[in-house]
Symmetry: C2
Subunit: 394 residues, 2 copies
């Protein structure tokens, strides 16, 4: 009567969504100020004023037929030029607007890339911990997700562990840096070693192994850290970008796929990605927000609050004895559960109305994700609860 | 290296797009006023002022974090309620917001429905002439498109022709009324007969055959014609709607899937459609335009110009001896080519800078589509060219 596989996807909502819904119900009972919801990654800072100004200008001065009309399927060329120019200024990457495909956010970008690249039997590698929807995006679009462990002490990539997972079916390796949920940024030497390894393996198997750079958190880094721009380290790289976090526009669904000009047969790979987007029903990325991001190139929301939140949480939680990875970027704190079963740990945290996400579905049992894109006051109010939770394990 | 099938989709752009691009090149040579481009279905009337007002209100008064934030995956419940209430007022259909899924336009709606319903070997039927992207949407999402002829004198559905195509693999029948490209609205008695037939066949094969109502042109009808609301005629109906034409917002990608509450196992079918959307990478429909359409429920652009265009074209072209179907709705004139080969006919029309679309890819060789969502002045300037074209066949 209908597709069982799609019914499964539609009826089993993600763990994160479930906890988020529970938080809303709980807030109705004990009051929102007494629920400490660290579940969801919805930016807590507003879009910058330049976004508001851009919308006003476009609506007041723009021709509505053009503003709300179809752009070319790959996106407005003027917008693509503006974005490509900014990337080339920042990273000297020589990217081309002709190889840029505007998409409805990073999810659409990833699905288009995976569907565009996937041939029967192809495997796509993701390093743990990874965003659980990767499993959905890969397995629903012709690929098979292969989960690969990392170096536990710092969550950097371990080439020995990777080598054991790579084979002739490996089509691509997904790199998400800054990482959701660990907050880790892969170091330049890590990326250099990964690139060397992938080049060797591509030669060994006689076909390119693509690097898929999933970069919604690129702009969210702390302490002046530099995030290596992957097309500058590895030729066969496709970048998936989203403005959801950098401009606080997650609901507007706007981002892009960028095929590096150094990709082998770049034009054909680009056509395959655009063709996949066409088959998935993406006619064009939302037109007005294409023009908005085009006018806001190089801008970000005021992300200073995330650094404040990171320090507030990290310093206090570690002082209570919790074992945390210090985030280099993004807005997640990755913490070791105080017992082997992270789900049981999160259940215990619920007693104090602390809503944390167990990372089993992120490929990392025994850990939890604490999303700190929240109001600092909530973090302050939550600290006593974290302290009580820690005491339970003393 | 990449998916050949997706490369095909990405490298072979649609015939319509090709003609549209040719028109732009040609305009650069002979001047835009001398090119009569009837190729593309991009609304020529602006969105109504209420859309502009809604955007301004939302941006000026709304909370940007909520306005641009993720809505629930199925869409904002307030918006869904507003839309469902309006549908129930107009059609007494008893539809439920809980069975409504906001999508990035009709393309996303169709792909989600097809992917959600399709099981291996399933066939989806479309009546000729049909929007060529149906072939892409169905064949890329787990189904097989089956093209079915209609009654040539009036392009209404012919149950005898349909009966020959229906079998145990038939999962759904797509009905697009008003029709792109014929402009035909299926009469109430046609729909009643179709519903009776589908009910019998569902019983015969022991599983529901779904009716997929693709309705982007519902609001664009002339001469006070009523378009039957299909959920009121057939229980197992899913409606795919878009605001692209009714509110002139094609680039914004906003529409919905509505699962009729009378669908067998409606909740499960709805979950399968939402699950398919999740697998296709649709996180949520663009949030701000969800709120915009919620505020503009029941409104349309000023579509009176389309009626003026229809009469201007139909009356003149028939007077030149062209054989045309008089459109009941939408903004396309479906015309018989003056020679057997519509592609050759369109090439000949090009001599006069008349850009028409041959309907071979619409499943109707020998016909052309004339898109009259254009400025009336262009139609007036084009008439002499049409007259010369007609003279060639005298």
């Amino acid at each position: 009567m209908y597709s069982e596989q799609m019914y499964e996807l539609g009826s089993k909502s993600s763990m994160i969504r479930e906890i988020f819904e529970y938080g809303k119900q709980r807030a109705a009972v004990v009051g929102p100020e007494n629920v400490f919801d660290f579940s969801i990654g919805n930016p807590s800072v507003p879009a910058p004023d330049t976004v508001k100004k851009a919308i006003e200008e476009l609506v007041l001065e723009g021709d509505p037929v053009l503003l709300h009309g179809y752009t070319s399927a790959a996106g407005d060329m003027g917008v693509r030029k503006a974005i490509a120019d900014n990337i080339n200024e920042r990273y000297q990457a020589g990217v081309k607007p002709e190889l840029m495909y505007m998409t409805a956010g990073a999810a659409a970008a990833l699905c288009s890339v995976i569907r565009g690249l996937a041939c029967p039997g192809d495997e796509f590698i993701a390093f743990v911990p990874f965003f659980p929807e990767y499993t959905v995006f890969v397995n629903s679009n012709g690929g098979k997700l292969v989960s690969v462990g990392v170096r536990e002490k710092d969550f950097q990539i371990d080439l020995d562990i990777l080598a054991a997972a790579v084979n002739e079916h490996t089509k691509a390796i997904i790199v998400n840096s800054p990482n959701n949920p660990s907050g880790v940024v892969y170091k330049e030497e890590t990326i250099q070693a990964l690139a060397k390894f992938m080049k060797e393996k591509s030669a060994e198997y006689g076909h390119p192994i693509y690097l898929i750079a999933d970069e919604p958190y690129r702009e969210l880094v702390y302490d002046g850290l530099e995030v290596p721009y992957l097309p500058n380290y590895y030729d066969n790289t496709l970048v998936c970008y989203s403005y959801s976090k950098s401009l606080s526009l997650p609901g507007e669904r706007i981002g892009y796929v960028l095929v590096s000009p150094k990709v082998e047969d770049a034009q054909k790979v680009y056509a395959a990605v655009c063709g996949a987007g066409r088959g998935l029903g993406y006619v064009c990325a939302p037109s007005m927000f294409q023009f908005v991001v085009g006018k806001c190139v190089g801008q970000t929301s005021d992300i200073s609050i995330y650094k404040y939140n990171r320090d507030l949480l990290y310093d206090n939680l570690t002082s209570y004895g919790f074992e945390c990875v210090k985030p280099d970027g993004a807005f997640y704190l990755f913490m070791k559960a105080s017992e082997a079963d992270a789900v049981a740990f999160c259940e215990r945290a619920k007693k104090y109305d602390l809503l944390l996400v167990p990372c089993d579905s992120f490929g990392c049992p025994g850990y939890v994700r604490i999303s700190y894109c929240v109001q600092p006051d909530m973090i302050k109010r939550s600290l006593a609860a974290f302290e009580k939770l820690a005491a339970e394990y003393k």
